[in-house]
């Protein structure tokens, strides 16, 4: 096995281990909870019989390690338990919403990634010009704004004042792909604005970092044009950090989706999670939290692997 294969496999194993630890963390949280969960959820007025029945339903009468193994076995079989509020299987609730969330995140990513990398390249190319400073200030402001502020500003101007887009993003009411893209444009735009700022700043930093290396100075000294230096000499070597930046920001996008979905009452996983937290529907919280954590950890692992593969020293090393 080559060095790179060993490294990649090691990183994958670490990712799996992390996910496992996260699921343990959820359970440890439940164990350390002061007082009785069933009592807390049902309230002080519940009779002891109801509480006992509820405890049995939750499996709280079993010792913790049995419960954890039971739950883990269920997850492996694709059974995530039933919702406390509606009694429906959690997998049925999550399935369509996961598709909606992935659609929204993918929509935003498809526009945000090329835009951010292009802007970052331009900022690096025209470093310390008015364009660079303007882009930097814009990015800093965008990072400082809460997602819901950006979302409501867009609603106010593009939806209420200009009437271009609906205020609520109901994908299920849409009658085709074009309709769906139109209905979900505002939430996607919110995510794009939030993510592009991060990605652009990091892309710019990655390229400027490469521009500081001696071989770039050599290219300059032999009279290569500024544009050619960036596109032919710097970009191929900055690709690894840029791919890393993109993957990290896609992970960030997955989190940003929660607030945006609530603002636009978009039927996705984020909204499901927030509703479940408010009503303390723990099986749903556990399952959705684990899905989000799994996607986030996967993207982080991919980011690491991408930068390993893009590194020639590791690729061709013995």
């Amino acid at each position: 096995m080559s060095k790179i294969q060993r490294l990649v496999l090691g990183r994958l194993a670490l990712g799996l281990l992390t996910l496992f630890a996260v699921s343990l963390l959820m359970f440890a949280g439940l164990e350390f909870l002061p007082g009785d969960l069933a009592q807390q959820i049902l309230g002080q007025s519940a009779t002891p019989d109801t509480v006992a029945a509820f405890r049995a339903e939750l499996g709280l009468d079993q010792p913790p390690h049995i419960r954890y193994l039971d739950w883990l076995g269920g997850v492996a079989r694709g059974d995530l338990g039933n919702s406390l509020a509606s009694g429906r299987p959690v997998t049925d609730l999550i399935g369509p919403r996961l598709a909606n969330t992935l659609f929204l995140a993918g929509y935003a990513a498809a526009i945000a990634v090329p835009l951010a990398v292009g802007l970052g390249l331009m900022a690096a190319l025209w470093r310390n010009t008015a364009f660079d400073r303007g882009a930097n200030l814009g990015a800093l402001s965008a990072i400082s704004m809460p997602e819901f502020f950006v979302a409501y500003l867009l609603i106010l101007f593009l939806s209420i004042k200009a009437g271009l887009f609906p205020t609520l993003a109901r994908i299920d009411m849409a009658s085709g792909p074009v309709d769906a893209l139109h209905a979900t444009f505002l939430p996607a735009l919110t995510l794009i604005l939030v993510v592009v700022a991060h990605m652009m700043r990091m892309t710019r930093a990655a390229i400027i970092n490469v521009l500081a290396s001696p071989y770039i100075e050599m290219a300059r000294l032999k009279g290569v044009s500024r544009r050619r230096v960036i596109l032919v000499h710097a970009l191929p070597n900055a690709l690894a950090p840029i791919v890393n930046v993109v993957a990290l920001n896609l992970a960030y996008l997955i989190v940003g989706v929660v607030v945006v979905e609530v603002v636009f009452s978009y039927p996705g996983l984020g909204q499901l999670l927030v509703d479940a937290v408010s009503s303390r529907d723990l099986p749903i919280v556990q399952a959705v939290g684990l899905v989000f954590a799994a996607v986030y950890i996967t993207l982080n692992v991919l980011a690491d692997i991408a930068s390993m593969i893009a590194n020639p020293r590791l690729r061709h090393g013995s």
Partner: protein
């Protein structure tokens, strides 16, 4: 101090003015606010008038008064949470660096797990378990944000623990408390202070987002995040009032970021 202020770029000065204004508002909130924090003064959703400069909210409370009290609650809680995260994270980080061995390993691996999950998702999962309330929220967010502080403090302390004066203190027989407080902390203090500004912004935005989702600061406490949520319906009528608390959040975060940017720039030695 005067020359320091004169050397500050206009962006940093702007940040300091905003920060000072928010701080004064927060400290003197009861004197500045025309009405009480939760006092119902009229019908819901009134227009902007001279009696109610920003109108009234969804329950007929004075919007301006709630904005002023919100400065105290939102900023105060974010500050408290950040301080807690720093005290816990920095202490653990320094202890890990000093002790090494299994103490270091256990703490570092625990922090790895905390940082492997997106903070918002982790906070939502933990708050679902312990229930949404202000003390729970502060505890959960402090735990989540002690992770990055731990990493920074540990890395910074690692550079110091090997130095001779620490070795000398150890040979003198000083206890762990002395080593952490008298030997390590003074030498990593400036690193931690710069990080504090950055982390405060994260925590502040984080609390605002949680409150907006209805899982952070609970009603009837006035808070900028939940004020946006409570009055959001007004936006569909083209009224900008609900955006004012959101704009206040953005403005304060930008102000702190501008100051931190300037401090980092000064610390990097690019400008004398």
């Amino acid at each position: 101090m005067k020359s320091l202020l004169r050397s500050a770029p206009p962006t940093a000065l702007f940040g300091m003015v905003v920060l000072a204004a928010v701080a004064i508002t927060a400290v003197f909130a009861p004197l500045l606010a025309p009405y009480g924090e939760t006092e119902v003064v009229g019908s819901a959703y009134q227009q902007w008038t001279s009696a109610h400069p920003l109108g009234t909210d969804n329950l007929g409370r004075d919007m301006l008064s709630r904005m002023i009290f919100g400065a105290r609650n939102t900023v105060g809680l974010a500050l408290l949470t950040t301080v807690l995260a720093f005290v816990a994270g920095a202490t653990l980080g320094m202890v890990a660096a000093l002790k090494g061995g299994w103490v270091d390993q256990v703490l570092a691996r625990a922090v790895d797990v905390l940082m492997a999950v997106p903070p918002l998702i982790l906070a939502l999962m933990l708050l679902a378990i312990v229930g949404a309330s202000i003390p729970n929220m502060i505890a959960v967010i402090s735990v989540i944000y002690l992770a990055p502080v731990f990493r920074l403090a540990r890395a910074a302390a690692m550079n110091v623990v090997g130095l001779d004066f620490v070795e000398a203190a150890r040979l003198r027989g000083e206890g762990l408390g002395w080593l952490v407080g008298r030997e390590i902390l003074p030498n990593i203090w400036s690193t931690l202070v710069a990080e504090f500004g950055v982390r405060f912004c994260f925590v502040f935005l984080f609390i605002a987002a949680l409150s907006f989702l209805g899982i952070g600061i609970q009603p009837p406490t006035a808070d900028w995040g939940s004020m946006v949520k409570e009055n959001a319906t007004l936006i569909t009528f083209g009224d900008v009032t609900p955006l004012i608390p959101a704009a206040a959040i953005a403005l304060l975060t930008i102000a702190v970021n501008l100051i931190v940017d300037w401090m980092l720039h000064r610390a990097s030695g690019l400008e004398t």
